[in-house]
């Protein structure tokens, strides 16, 4: 069967189940395409030989009742994978080989999928362009020299370029939805507590969530169904009734109330984004949903709040990298000198910057002025959403304030880089689910995304709205395989 890599996850699952394709054929096709795509730099660690072996083993005794039977998959290098190097995009974990498996990836392998390799990301998931990775930036398959977004940039690039049928990323302030938007793919950030954080390299523990990144909404729903489980190994994992997201997926969203928050019309937003949003509103109306104007008055305070809360938690989480128990060590004259040199040489500039911000806002004399203040504003932001959800079932916004930018364009200005996450950060602060779907192109032909934000634990509803919109939008990605010689 030709063009295996052009098939969606759902098609591949169906073809393996009906024995039209074997796992070996599928795995070989994705491995070959990945090997021809090194220029994208989407992978940090390849595990192709093992993947092909596992596929062969699967075919010898195929269990076709599984949800991901013999499906090859590469995952973001923030998920610990037993016996396969896990770097978090950092020099400090360059030689780290986990002796345990993250719950989310274990759930995926339990359903029959096969690990192909680990995908590039911003260092410790701190970035919006994949340029902070120790392993170099990633090319966006849409256009050479364009960032794929971040921090899950290797993941978005690999899905858009069809190096993997589907993947997982993590999202602390937009790290799934922004790269999905930049590459014309679908990315879901689930409700906080939906997917276990066990075995995911920690960035900001009160915000981090894993989620699927896919070519379409149906595939996204299927993977969410697999990865979302209650896990006693994560003390913030929440035991709620999870849907069979892919089975219960419906395009019937008649009568759903969709909120349009006026505060998301930010100053300087390109007209293209404004137009896309208007088009999105027309699409949901066409599907029979009702549009309701709402207000989220504290939207403008979300980014400043995030840039206190996230670095504070990061500075605390990253204190564990001391050159003693695992990871990189720089030798020093004494213990303190060793710590300081290890962390100075092992962490990149953006990570050091955030550790410094976090340390400062938590330090004696500043805690109340910054950290406590931010936690209070975080409450106001969450209250805004609680208030809005008394009137609406979901909220529709743009995913990002612009399309993908050029590599190097924003690296010297941290604040302009941070502004990328203006529409996605409030969702993490409130712990809500949000999905980005490709909804159109700008004048340069680069993809643009729309975001649907749901109530907590209401993933099914936003997946349904996305599914209905997807059909109306009928988005086509313009990818010409420029990197394949």
């Amino acid at each position: 069967m030709s063009d295996i890599t052009k098939q969606s996850l759902s098609e591949l699952v169906e073809n393996i189940k009906s024995k039209k394709l074997s796992s070996s054929e599928v795995t070989k096709a994705f491995v070959e395409r990945s090997e021809k795509s090194k220029e994208l730099n989407a992978y940090i660690t390849e595990d192709y030989a093992n993947a092909l072996n596992k596929a062969k083993k699967f075919d010898e005794k195929p269990n076709l009742d599984l949800k991901l039977p013999g499906i090859p998959m590469a995952v973001k290098d923030l998920f610990c994978t037993r016996d396969l190097r896990t770097t978090a995009g950092s020099k400090i974990l360059n030689n780290f080989v986990p002796t345990y498996e993250s719950t989310v990836t274990q759930n995926i392998w339990n359903e029959g999928a096969i690990l192909m390799g680990k995908l590039n990301c911003d260092e410790f998931a701190m970035g919006s362009s994949n340029e902070t990775s120790f392993f170099g930036n990633v090319q966006n398959p849409i256009d050479k020299n364009l960032v794929p977004g971040g921090s899950s940039g290797g993941s978005s690039s690999a899905v858009a370029a069809q190096l993997t049928p589907i993947t997982i990323g993590t999202d602390t302030g937009g790290s799934i939805r922004q790269p999905a938007s930049f590459t014309g793919t679908v990315g879901l950030k689930p409700t906080y507590g939906s997917c276990s954080r066990y075995g995911i390299v920690a960035f900001a523990s009160s915000l981090d969530q894993a989620g699927p990144m896919a070519q379409n909404v149906k595939d996204c729903a299927l993977l969410q169904e697999v990865i979302s489980t209650y896990d006693e190994k994560d003390s913030t994992s929440i035991d709620f009734k999870r849907n069979n997201y892919s089975k219960e997926l419906t395009k019937d969203i008649k009568g759903k109330k969709i909120g349009i928050p006026k505060e998301y019309r930010v100053d300087g937003m390109p007209k293209e984004i404004e137009d896309l949003w208007k088009k999105g509103i027309e699409y949901v109306k066409d599907c029979g949903a009702d549009i309701i104007d709402i207000s989220l008055p504290h939207t403008n305070y979300a980014l400043p709040t995030y840039y206190i809360v996230a670095p504070a938690e990061a500075s605390s989480n990253l204190a564990r990298y001391d050159g003693v128990k695992y990871g990189f060590r720089a030798e020093g004259e004494n213990l303190i000198d060793m710590y300081e040199k290890t962390r100075s040489e092992g962490f990149g500039a953006e990570v050091q910057r955030r550790i410094m911000i976090g340390t400062y806002v938590l330090s004696s004399g500043y805690y109340d002025a910054y950290y406590l203040k931010a936690q209070k504003v975080r409450k106001l932001i969450k209250n805004d959403f609680d208030e809005a959800y008394k009137k609406v079932d979901a909220i529709l916004t743009p995913s990002t304030p612009s399309s993908a930018f050029k590599i190097g364009e924003k690296t010297n200005d941290p604040v302009s880089m941070y502004l990328n996450d203006i529409f996605t950060v409030p969702v993490n602060l409130a712990g809500l689910p949000g999905i980005s779907i490709p909804a159109g192109h700008d004048a340069k032909g680069y993809p643009l995304g729309l975001q649907i934000i749901g109530k907590a634990f209401d993933e099914q509803n936003i997946l349904n709205i996305a599914y209905a919109m997807e059909e109306k939008i009928n988005f086509k990605n313009n990818i010409n395989d420029w990197w394949i010689k």
Binding site: S206, N334, R343, Y370, K379
Partner: protein, 95 residues
């Protein structure tokens, strides 16, 4: 607000990240522009607002106190940059 080089040195010490003069100057510039941006929060009056510490509104679950993973010594030591028999090795701390 302004973060000076002295403050940078202080934070660098607390963070256990060594910085030389050149790096300290760059960091001071970056942190000042970031804190200018963060200062926006002072526009809001928050005296009577409860801080939000977790969005997951659940109480921590109790579990029985049982050992579930055993004999992990080799796994724990496996990724150590320097070890001797069953110990992590660090520079000498007692003269």
């Amino acid at each position: 607000m302004s973060i000076d080089l002295k403050t940078i040195k202080h934070i660098s010490k607390l963070s256990r990240i060594s910085v030389d003069e050149k790096k300290a100057e760059k960091l001071a510039g970056d942190l000042n522009s970031i804190f200018d941006f963060i200062e926006k929060l002072n526009e809001l009056k928050t005296d009577n607002i409860e801080p939000l510490t977790s969005v997951a509104e659940t109480t921590l679950k109790l579990r029985s106190d049982e050992v579930k993973s055993k004999n992990l010594r080799d796994q724990v030591i496996k990724n150590s940059p320097k070890e001797n028999e069953d110990y992590f090795v660090v520079p000498k701390v007692i003269e």
